[in-house]
Symmetry: C2
Subunit: 127 residues, 2 copies
Amino acid sequence: MSSEQFKIGLNDKLMGQVNAVLIGQHYIQDKGSFTLTGGILSHDPINAGGSASTVNAALEGFVRAAAIELPRGIRINLVSPTVLKESMSTYESYFRGFVPVDASRAALAYSKSVEGLQTGQIYSATR
Amino acid sequence: MSSEQFKIGLNDKLMGQVNAVLIGQHYIQDKGSFTLTGGILSHDPINAGGSASTVNAALEGFVRAAAIELPRGIRINLVSPTVLKESMSTYESYFRGFVPVDASRAALAYSKSVEGLQTGQIYSATR
């Protein structure tokens, strides 16, 4: 993998979400919340997943740090799901041996983040 | 903080070390090892430390993933120290309440990584 290939994940999944927060914090209402999306590869790496592991771990660090700095009661959490059952037709060969979850299970984590009051949390949706 | 300011840490501390591995893996000898440097902010954030927390967490994800993919018995670990006593004259105002360690303590973690046989490990040098 080249440096340029590696940077695709940083620019897309990482900076896409980081920029949403850096810019959005100035427009979101008081006590609003951000919910970002990471993934299980941060701690459970697979073949050809180096960039994804890096990006997903980076998002965990970002959320922990942003949570203590965001003003006006703004919250931020990360949903970190495993592979979804609905995605297994595409990703099955990468996620051998992983226990997939229903998308509805991952949706609960988003609900917890948006509708709860916690901040700086990593919500794993892995079972 | 702007997106461009945020990216300085990604391009410097993160991609500097990632590139050393992506390129260096083709030149390092069999059973050679890489030891990267992260830091405590990955899990213990401070004011104005959002970029550093992101980068240090990213390095943890990268090392976990790279360890399972590197060929020829090549190893990789991360040393993740807290603030050093020797750096407190510069960083003391940022690291209020943190317990600094001697540089010689952090050096032990590098020794463990280079001279041991483990791979994919995060060696915290925090006490």
